[in-house]
Amino acid sequence: MYSKVTAADIAALQAIVGEQDVLTGEAINPDYAHDELGGVSQMPEVLVRVHSTEEISKIMRLAYARTIPVTVRGSGTGLVGAAVPIHGGILLETTKMNKILRLDEHNLTVTVQPGVLLMELAAFAEEHDFLYPPDPGEKSATIGGNISTNAGGMRAVKYGVTRDYVRSLTVVLPNGEIQTFGAAVAKNSSGYSLKDLIIGSEGTLAIICEAVLKLVPLPKVSVSLLVPFPDMKSAIEAVPHIIRSKVTPTAIEYMSRDTILFSESYLGKRFPDTKNDAYILLTFDGNTQTQVDTDMSVVADLCLQLGALDAYIVDTEERKKSVWSARGAFLEAIKASTTEMDECDVVVPGNQVDTFIKFTHELAAEFQVRIPSFGHAGDGNLHVYICRDALSDADWETTKAAIFDRMYAKSVELGGLVSGEHGIGYAKREFMKRQYGPTPVALMQGIKRVFDEKNILNPGKVCF
């Protein structure tokens, strides 16, 4: 069993990071007990704000010797309870390790500490004429958190996900040992990819202390198209045709009128068009206006043939802001529209998106709850939200459980997976286990044991 944090442990932690960055009891803000979604909550025994890899190493040596559980937390923007210290112990916050250390223009890489925010990295890259392609909606998430969940985002259709941009990781193992996995190289055929095991492991295998990330040259031109459809069915059905057209948009997002209206009321800002029931938002990027215009026209013509009512051109900074700021606020806007919500981040094969969305509408009617959704139509990753509204505690728990069961079963039936980009964390473990079955889960547990035989790093998450 785990040891409780003692006064001697606190003194040791203070000696490592300084007194001001070791907090206990009421000095810890209650927000540290949870992430962005309800359902699981637990205060840590001690909150430690770290500044360097060496500090993390010393803390892990202490925790390992004393068998104290350690949970790593970035900005706390997760959606599955992965950063909640369910066994108490030490909550290790990385937000003070927020330096962009090096830009290597020869190898097109940037070296960052884990507490750098996604928006800071994106702005830094752009200032230097580069693009860091992963583009999850939550821009105030840390890069450490993005790597830990293998976050995807809106540009995944063309550019892939976080995993595709991690060249190497410097990590601290549960026993305090510092190791670097991977290298700043383009190819790697050198044994098992330990770096790739760390990516998406949600802080259960090692603590990310430094990351070398790949950049690409910043595309010179970028234009979006907002395409209105009379209904969600025709909007979603257009997506496979767009993908088959061989023009590769950077992003293909779908959104319903309802969700847009939530966002309008949340932001206090009107969206450029709300006359239609369903929209697809696409982005095209490239190095010349002609090339981008050609791609855009091919897709716009195709959409019009497939029943789109128009295709609105989003080509200036102001227009992009008016559309994308609303898209970026969808999660918070839906959250603000209800008393409580829970989410399902399934990913299904691209041609099954329509079937899955229709199924969520049927569930909403059957269970008499609101289930708004939005998501990445181009890569099959959907964000579906069950809204509690006026349900009682008991009704909320039973309804939510019943709907989740049905949705995850449907995703399995359609060839999908439990999570596209938010992770498994605490909340989705049973759904993942149910889908994978005993052997894959046993392999995951085995990997966890090899890294962390004392099970002190983020225990009770992902596969346990």
Binding site: R270, D273, M296, A300, L304, E317, E318, R319
Partner: protein, 263 residues
């Protein structure tokens, strides 16, 4: 209601550099766009026409390639537009620009309402609208925030006078300049862009089409002011660190935001 919206083509990026030696904007290789403030005027015009009935056309002054912004306004819903273009118009200051535009408007017909944006993002003078009204002897209201009604030959509107808000009526015909951020401008339609015929959508007027044929009233020679030097504004970044405990810092932050009129 017959509405005309004045628009301008400006550099597509907000970060256009000024050549420190010549003082000229480095426009080469930089794409152009409609002045963002004019989009609010276009949206206001299209909304008014939908609400009270009417037509919307647009007008710009600039080189022939400024037709791009007229085509864009047509894609947003205007019926057609006019480009005032002539080498004689080049180098105009705000006064000569306003005069040229007023001459152009006279040749486009009679309008119940002329709409302008608050200012441009390249010149930032915010004077042309009011001066056009003066040349056309029309009542003028600037910084209009909303138009509540149109009846009995009048517009009922709200405008900002910086330290106060006025609600007033103004008789038609008139010229108003709308404030920024008062609506969300609609997006240009690909469907219209694909179907429009350029010759129907844009017409060009030159010096030869105008009533006043005195070349000294236009361009550089018609300008009352001369630009001596253009230079980028000094960029000042200040860092202010708040001291004290959380409550004291929150209080200081509140006062700071209040002082800066951000609350």
């Amino acid at each position: 209601m017959k509405i005309l919206v004045c628009v301008k083509q400006v550099p597509g990026s907000n970060n256009v550099e000024v050549d420190p030696v010549t003082g000229v904007l480095k426009r080469s290789g930089i794409p152009s766009k409609i002045n963002p403030y004019d989009l609010y005027a276009i949206e206001t015009a299209l909304t008014l026409a939908e609400r009270f009935g009417g037509t919307v056309q647009t007008l710009t002054m600039g080189p022939p390639q400024a037709k791009a912004v007229i085509l864009e306004t047509v894609c947003m819903g205007a019926s057609h537009g006019t480009v005032l273009t002539d080498r004689k118009f080049a180098g105009a200051d705000v006064l000569a620009t306003a005069y040229t535009i007023s001459q152009g408007i006279r040749k486009c017909g009679d309008f119940d309402l002329i709409l302008c944006g608050k200012q441009t993002t390249d010149g930032d003078t915010a004077q042309v609208g009011a001066e056009v009204a003066e040349y056309l002897a029309l009542p003028n209201v600037s910084n209009v925030l909303s138009i509540e009604d149109c009846r009995e030959g009048k517009l009922f509107l709200t405008a900002s006078l910086d330290d106060r808000i006025v609600t007033q009526s103004v008789r038609l015909p008139c010229l108003i300049s709308v404030d920024g951020d008062i609506n969300t401008p609609r997006l240009p339609s690909y469907k219209i862009r694909k179907s429009l015929k350029e010759e129907d959508a844009v017409r060009f007027l030159t010096f030869a089409d105008f009533d006043d044929q005195d070349p000294d009233h236009y361009g550089l020679t018609g300008s009352a002011t001369q630009v001596e030097r253009i230079f980028p504004p000094e960029k000042v970044a200040q860092k202010h660190t708040l001291q004290g405990d959380a409550a004291q810092q929150a209080d200081q932050l509140y006062r700071l935001l209040l002082d800066k009129k951000m609350l």
